[in-house]
């Protein structure tokens, strides 16, 4: 059992219910993390500002405010500088990945993905912490 996220909070922002639930389930089981999920970018952003989660998993294609804009807002907030951000999206074009990293995302996962691969990426990111 990985303890690196134990007692730490994770925020998942994804409008797709199945993705949200799958990620929530994987992180709760594997890292015993306290996971909060939102389907709306603005609500997620508000929650992040209030609770400063250790890890934020962010979808790019969101209604209203897209993932890139949310990431920009997150990076502007000094309190959230330590939070790690993983972008999750069906977009696999290199420009999108580059743009994500330019906006200082820590990791990029494209859909479809394998749960084991996703967990490995999260683990690697947390080990760097």
């Amino acid at each position: 059992m990985d303890e690196s996220l134990n007692n730490n909070s994770v925020l998942v922002i994804d409008d797709d219910e199945v993705t949200r639930k799958l990620i929530q389930r994987l992180l709760e089981r594997e890292f015993k993390a306290q996971v909060t999920a939102f389907g709306n970018g603005l609500e997620g952003l508000e929650y992040a500002r209030e609770h400063q989660p250790t890890l934020i998993i962010l979808d790019l294609m969101l209604p209203g405010m897209n993932g890139f804009d949310i990431l920009k807002e997150l990076r502007k907030d000094r309190l959230l500088k330590e939070s790690k951000v993983i972008l999750v999206s069906a977009k696999s074009r290199s420009e999108d990945i580059e743009r994500g990293f330019d906006l200082s995302a820590d990791e990029y996962v494209t859909k479809p993905f394998q749960p084991k691969e996703f967990l490995a990426r999260v683990r690697k990111l947390l080990e760097q912490n």
Binding site: D16, E17, V18, T19, K21, L22, R25, A90, K111, P112, F113, Q114, P115
Partner: protein, 399 residues
Amino acid sequence: MPSLNISYTTVLVLVGLLGLIFLFLLGYTLWTRAKKRYWQRYKQRFRDYFLPMLFEFVEGQSTRSDADKIIRKLTKRTKDLSYFLELLDEMNNLLKGQDRAKLDLLIEQELFFKFYREKLFSFSKQNQLLACVYFENNSSITDRIGARLISISKSGNLKLAYGATKALQSSKNMTIRRNALIRFLKRDDISDLMVSELLHYFNDEDCWNQLEISQGLKEIFFDKDILPAKKRIVVLYLAYKNHFEMGVFLLQYLEKLQYSVSKAPLISGLIEALGKLHVKEAAPLIREYMSSNRDNSLRLKCVEALGQLGGEENLTFLAHQLLKSDFSLRKKIIQILTQNTDEGIRLINRFLIANRKFVIHFKQQDNPPDELEHVLRNIYSTARGIQIMLPKNRSLAHA
């Protein structure tokens, strides 16, 4: 003034009738809303019940008997079956590899197969469409179902034809897949997005190797009934998917094409693809298009492609085009030369030295000819562009 001869009773009857219609419509609206809310709640409960079960199924060492156990929990109601398949479809789009493959044990269950086979052979277009979506995810297409899907794919109804063509892309027979794709591309009512999506379905790397896929796609270029705009999407898709083995073929195809306004998008796509696929042998032909063509968007693609191909000859050619090109092309050339290589910077330096001499000579003249004013403006504009685009760690005194 004419008198209104409507009796009091008639008015009452009309008001009563209108009142009844109003009450009926109100009741109907409330009832449909309540029904919709009921099904929404039901669907949510259904998903909450089955989703964890499906996650466990995918994560564990699941077998066919585990799949059967889940299926036994399902009622045979149409709504339940369609909700369940909707869930499977969503998971299908989210997972890949072995986890995704496990879903096939559920999707290919006899219960669903029979249910959707009946729908496929029914007369209702809606049912046929639902069946097409199902067979899109089911690779065990029998001959009878294949034949039915082929006949639906020829339908005049675009939605149905598209659904059936997508379903045929899950066939294990490459000829069926290719013919279905070509048949659909011949239609004149399809959108570009449909073409891209179908190519994505056709390009099933789990089943076919890259060579088999590109051989299948080659046929599209020989078909005269497929519009150049559609062929352009195929060309760009090949480049996007790094089909390097198609480079020589695409070059030969470009060589055979005669320029015309209708073929311009295809030619532009081919030039773009040849650049992305680094087909160095294409450089002379691209330079020829750049020199002889007046279509600015095509010339822009030529500049991009030559920049991608690189090499002294191509970069020197681009540098020589600086003063002959308009603003957008000039901008692109400067961008390529400044960001590309040391060779590009050297060429820019040479350009600036040569033109500096010209500017000095021009200023020393008492009555310079008016036509040279335009050249001078171009030189200044290019020099300004170079100053802006030059990387911060590089500097050129002449700029």
